[in-house]
Symmetry: C2
Subunit: 333 residues, 2 copies
């Protein structure tokens, strides 16, 4: 439940309906619980229906919830979320420019740590290096988290790694899927990209003011929706052959983010680095690292505390790569 | 001269008066040059007078400039500045909140690289770690520079070092004063702080979007103005026993910043690190580095490429300190 336990009438009615699901809740009982008139209840039910909830009304029996829409409204998932920091404050938009842009504005204005900004549709979604990132409305899980970590700017890649590990854990916990983290900021399933992460910060030279972690997970995109990415992307729907309720994945993902952020606060990056390594794509394998004017081959060793890639060259020396410069792929056979 | 050579009538008239200083310029000649009426000239002269310029008008001889006010209006210094990037675009405010805040807004809106934001008075001046930083109107030299360097966030302390070296060079060139850089972000004269630098950035985890370099140099503050800093601060006026024209120092400082930023773009941090070291306070001396719960003594070795302080402990090992954590002072005798 959100801190302070304040729910709006929609959330409260949904909670009452879900407590009795698949049974009925009498209008009278709802009136007592909410302390409002039958007319007010009726209006709220109508409003829920226009949001996509299928609610049956039967004389003498009352109301019952038949199906819920696949929407990311906090009423769908915030009520019994088990987190301490992440997702206790939520800003939900049916459509927005880019959740990272909104999150940065709110961070500057001093929103609570752990606040998430979530939307059904981004008109200006972005990936790393200013690349555009798009998905059809209501298919992806797109949100941003605002953090105020006590950190040095050079430690910020740690949060990209943290988010990637949280996605891997959430996909395993909710769906039993084995995903892997791909350096620097993606999550892959069976060699295809399923999630991208974009960490942005405002900082002094030696002190982070805020970090905004943007996460874009492909959930219900069809094969056709993904054509624009060539043969490099997939979605949970494509992997599993069915559509999924995004709010359920979101809830678990926020819990994993909350656990891992707490771990970072208490023990630093070391345990996270281990988790990242345990789930990393191509670790110990021959890979190539390509830049604008360079191309190195070697064995992927892992990452350093700044999130830089460590490549063991064939002469045994270790070379460090920062993600801004290069891309990583398997070595040519 | 500003790029494109566009000057407003005030700037143009000042230029004409200065070309003939201390002689007269006829009203007729000014009319020809500006292609405007005698009445328009007169109004511009009146406006310059209200800005603090002392301009004499004599029948038959014309106008001459007696004295210029100590203001930072670009008309005072931009006309013949010799820079390629820094200070070609200027936003001048008689008063503002904080030049760094304005600069960050303008950087987000995509102002030209090298733009400077300058003011006579800050109502919300800030130093490192969110500390407030104040000086009486028209006494300090407070400005911010917007840069779009191709850099990793961990390299941003390099720009603090760059600015500190530029201040040292400008003070030597304009006044023959020997100042020193004090780790992490100050300039000292005779053991007292004369200048503070605040670098701020917006960045992705591995790529800087912009850096704003705020510089606050104590110029014409009296001893009384500095009392609030205890016995830790000084000004050029206190050091030299006379007031100075801030615009002259500004011009040279922008030229030094321009030289050093070009050097950084061409050769990276290595030559700047050398210059910083050559002018560093306490280098090779016994110092102590104090944190919240720690206190180390050793010999100050220098800095690394991330601007971190390198301290040689008495057992010979080198310890690295990031500036967010600690403060530096001479070791207790």
């Amino acid at each position: 439940m959100p801190k302070g336990g304040i729910m709006n009438p929609k959330q409260k009615i949904l909670e009452l309906l879900r407590e009795e699901e698949p049974g009925y809740v009498s209008g009278e009982y709802i009136c007592q619980q909410l302390q409002v008139s039958r007319t007010a209840i009726w209006k709220t039910i109508e409003s829920l229906r226009s949001d996509g909830y299928d609610i049956e009304a039967r004389p003498r029996l009352g109301y019952r919830l038949l199906t819920s829409p696949d929407i990311l409204d906090p009423a769908e998932w915030q009520t019994d979320i088990k987190t301490h920091i992440i997702g206790q404050t939520v800003r939900y938009y049916k459509t927005t420019t880019s959740t990272n842009e909104v999150a940065k504005d709110l961070a500057r204005q001093g929103i609570t740590e752990g606040a998430i900004i979530i939307t059904e549709e981004q008109s200006k979604g972005r990936g790393r290096l200013g690349r555009t990132w798009q998905c059809p409305p209501r298919t992806g899980l797109c949100f941003s988290v605002v953090l105020f970590p006590r950190a040095n700017p050079m430690e910020v890649p740690q949060f990209t790694m943290l988010a990637a590990v949280a996605v891997v854990k959430a996909l395993y916990r909710t769906l039993g899927l084995r995903a892997q983290v791909k350096w620097p900021n993606d999550v892959y399933i069976e060699g295809l990209k399923i999630c991208g992460i974009l960490a942005e910060m405002a900082a002094e030279a030696d002190r982070v003011k805020y970090v905004v972690l943007g996460i874009g997970l492909n959930v219900n995109q069809s094969k056709e929706d993904l054509v624009c990415f060539g043969n490099t992307a997939t979605s949970l729907r494509v992997q599993l052959g069915r559509t999924l309720l995004r709010s359920q994945i979101l809830k678990v993902l926020l819990e994993e983010l909350d656990n891992l952020y707490t771990l970072w606060q208490q023990e630093g990056f070391l345990p996270l680095k281990g988790l990242w390594r345990d789930n990393a794509l191509w670790i110990g394998n021959k890979v190539q690292v390509s830049g604008l004017n360079s191309n190195y081959q070697g064995t992927m060793e892992g990452i350093d505390d700044g999130g830089a890639l460590l490549l063991r060259l064939y002469d045994g020396t270790i070379k460090t790569f920062y993600s801004g410069e290069v891309s990583l792929r398997p070595a040519n056979k």
